[in-house]
């Protein structure tokens, strides 16, 4: 199989409310930053994939609002709906199929223009579940409790994820919520849905990210040293929460296993140097780490306390600040990919970790982690 690489990234600052900017304005900024980063012009891009969501954007055919601004006019173009990591995955296959050499992938979200509880309530089954008033937060609270019950993970350990990631965000000028907080601050913050406090939950933010993916035949022609996509996989679990063991994420375990196999990784705990994962809620960081084989079952909380996942720890997780520090929902996976790319290139600035050669980026679709997408990126082909 051919190889593909990420050769440019561009992100807007993540903010609570980009009141002066439209979707197109955000896309324009992210795309131009990515082109500048790669040392390319839009003429060097031969196809475009946008990532958007009709529900999150409040607009049918939501990709219509960003196509021109993403430089798609007179080019081949498509649109993925869901997390940006899936957009990148599709963009990569368009290069690997031999059809295109360079794919520009964008993802945008404006949480400020929607009501997230209504939008995520619409992801529940209209007959059996929607009228219960469930939304992403309450679904994830159920999952958090199930995970804590199974593993003995404590509320303090969840809170420590928030302390770490908001603290990491102090070094990342693109984040929305850099905070110097304590475990006590998290536990004292407003209860949202038991066991989650306000500081256990990510904000719903505004932002846009763009990445440029190139086929290996052109990956070294531009300014940046390519960051190679060595492995990628995605997988979905059952839909109904009751059909799943909510305390687990078997779809993530399956996706990670396949991505490792593709990347020729035998011992992910040793071979992966940096992780950016989907931490929309604090418990998710711990659960996902265990399911991806980056921590033994029921040990992530303890390893976190030991400092293993700190920016200077054994396996830095969400050194960028993660989604807890700013969560433009549909763009999230692209921000994670971009953060890993910058780590591997060694240009992550204040949140750079040491010796980042191989990294993992992760995106999630659906309720309480129903569907997962795992990328393994590497400095070497």
């Amino acid at each position: 199989m051919d190889r593909a690489a990420i050769i440019g990234v561009g992100m807007t600052k993540i903010e609570k409310n980009k009141v002066r900017e439209t979707f197109a304005d955000m896309a324009w900024e992210a795309v131009n930053k990515a082109l500048n980063d790669a040392g390319m012009t839009i003429a060097d891009i031969d196809n475009v994939v946008t990532t958007s969501s009709d529900f999150w954007d409040g607009r049918t055919i939501s990709c219509m609002a960003v196509g021109d601004a993403s430089g798609a006019a007179h080019k081949n173009v498509s649109c993925v709906e869901g997390d940006g990591a899936y957009g990148a995955l599709y963009g990569m296959t368009r290069c690997l199929s031999g059809s295109y050499k360079t794919t520009l992938v964008t993802g945008h979200s404006k949480g400020s223009e929607g009501v997230s509880s209504l939008i995520t309530n619409a992801a529940f089954d209209p007959i059996y579940e929607r009228a219960l008033g469930l939304d992403m937060v309450t679904a994830c609270a159920l999952q958090a409790r199930a995970y804590m019950h199974r593993t003995g993970t404590t509320e303090e350990q969840l809170a420590l994820v928030s302390v770490k990631n908001h603290g990491n965000a102090l070094k990342n000028p693109l984040t929305q919520l850099p905070l110097k907080i304590t475990v006590q601050d998290v536990l004292a913050s407003e209860p949202i849905a038991d066991p989650l406090h306000k500081l256990d939950c990510s904000p719903v933010s505004d932002g846009c990210a763009a990445v440029i993916i190139a086929h290996e035949s052109v990956a070294t022609r531009f300014r940046q040293r390519p960051v190679w996509i060595r492995g990628v996989s995605f997988c979905a679990d059952s839909f109904f929460l009751g059909d799943r063991n909510l305390s687990r994420a078997r779809a993530l375990a399956a996706a990670a296993k396949k991505a490792y196999a593709m990347a020729d990784i035998n011992d992910p705990k040793k071979e992966i140097d940096v992780v950016e994962l989907h931490d929309a809620f604090t418990y998710q960081e711990l659960l996902w780490l265990e399911e991806m084989g980056l921590a033994e079952a029921a040990t992530a909380g303890k390893l976190l306390e030991k400092g293993d996942f700190d920016r200077n720890g054994r396996l830095p997780v969400n050194a960028s600040g993660g989604l807890l520090s700013g969560h433009p929902v549909i763009a999230a996976g692209l921000y994670s990919l971009a953060a890993v790319v910058r780590q591997i290139r060694g240009d992550a600035g204040g949140f750079q970790v040491k010796k980042a050669k191989t990294g993992l980026a992760h995106g999630v679709n659906g309720l309480a982690g129903q569907s997962h997408c795992v990328f393994i990126l590497d400095r070497d082909k």
Partner: protein, 385 residues
């Protein structure tokens, strides 16, 4: 090309304006089971799934995740592509790239819509910019009327010319058991039907249908083992060039012109009218059947009415268009483009039964939607080089 890609199975539901007998997952499953049976495969053989619809038509967010009980997506890779009316063709192009990348050998592609569960015009209206476009154009029909008026003004074509296209497609639908509307109409009946938006009559346009379509694509490594005569994908192209209605060039379909030129070039086609054997055009209204075949380069500017009147695009003509009855006879929107792809595949595979065009070597299918957008696929009997 990393891997060559072929269609090895297709499945369609029966379509009607309201399917209260099934919910969304069951509707999807009806198409999936038929496609699996057609390819003699089981769900466990499928490596990945691509699905698409228009969220606001059913009011369900994260459809790829919600539909796994119907699509078979549990513990499989599933991805959602959505581009409005072009969605059905977009998901097919998605499947082509997933298989072509070498990552997956057998990919299931699903397009579906239960239009009966929505206010289609209301949902389409929200596609357009809330400040500049939304108050001017409501839904789909008004924009199409503007396009038709521009074409008529440019070339002197009439609504009678368009009606001839509608008569053709509605007659062809008699041969298709999957078509939603199967009743022959006369020119006079089309012209006497109510005007929806001048110059478009009721019988010039498509219905909205409930239905689903599934297509299975396979890599060259396994395609011929699954199906003795697969439908090889020779190329794809897509253009979604406008965000604002006012930026489009009315009376011409720029996206069709640019996309088809790219496709002919990719496949080495010099004279598409002579080289193509059949076309399944996403043509939601009769005027599209005039304007867009000019943009494809089948005939010169303004020459479409004569070409159609002479019967060239009828069954038995030089280049039959829409043997299935087309979109005018059946339109479950998220599935509509994929039905075009499936119908073209059936023609190439020689499995189109009563609507079969003899000896099809090269077929074309398309999707239309958004702001005058076009997606397209070229199908062939021979494995591409």
């Amino acid at each position: 090309m990393a891997k060559r890609v072929a269609i090895v199975g297709t499945g369609q539901t029966f379509h009607t304006s309201h399917r209260p007998d099934v919910n969304g997952q069951e509707l999807i499953n009806e198409a999936v089971i038929r496609a699996l049976n057609d390819a003699d495969l089981q769900m466990k053989d499928i490596d990945a799934i691509v699905i698409g619809n228009m969220d606001h038509f059913e009011g369900i967010n994260y459809v790829d995740c919600w539909s796994v009980d119907g699509s078979g997506g549990t513990m499989k890779p599933i991805i959602k592509l959505t581009t409005g009316g072009t969605t059905g063709c977009t998901v097919a192009i998605g499947g082509y790239h997933l298989v072509g990348s070498g990552m997956f050998d057998r990919v299931l592609i699903i397009g579906w819509e239960k239009n009966s569960e929505s206010d289609t015009t209301g949902a389409i209206t929200t596609a357009f910019d809330p400040i500049w476009d939304r108050l001017v154009f409501a839904g789909a029909i008004s924009g199409l009327a503007a396009e038709a008026q521009a074409y008529m003004a440019r070339y002197g074509a009439t609504d009678r010319d368009a009606a001839r296209v509608s008569v053709r497609d509605r007659k062809h639908a008699l041969n298709n058991p999957h078509a939603h509307l199967r009743r022959e109409v006369t020119l006079e009946q089309v012209l006497a039907s109510p005007i929806l938006a001048d110059p478009i009559h009721l019988l010039d346009v498509c219905p909205r249908s409930d239905g689903a379509c599934a297509v299975i694509m396979a890599s060259e490594d396994v395609a011929e083992k699954i199906c003795p005569q697969p439908d090889w994908i020779l190329g794809t192209a897509a253009r979604h060039s406008y965000s604002y209605l006012g930026d489009a060039d009315y009376g011409r379909l720029t996206s069709m012109r640019e996309g088809s030129q790219e496709l002919w070039k990719k496949a080495g086609i010099r004279e598409p009218r002579k080289e193509l054997d059949v076309i399944e055009l996403y043509q939601p209204y009769s005027f599209g059947g005039l304007i867009w075949i000019e943009d494809m380069g089948l005939v010169g500017p303004g020459e479409a009415p004569r070409y159609i009147w002479d019967g060239n695009t009828d069954m038995g003509g030089e280049l039959p268009i829409n043997p299935s009855g087309g979109v005018i006879s059946c339109n479950p929107i998220g599935a509509t483009g994929l039905i075009r792809c499936a119908e073209a595949a059936l023609q190439v595979m020689g499995k189109a039964e009563y609507r079969q065009v003899p000896d099809v070597k090269l077929a074309f299918s398309s999707g239309f939607g958004g702001c005058w957008w076009t997606d397209m696929i070229l199908h062939g009997r021979k494995k591409p080089h």
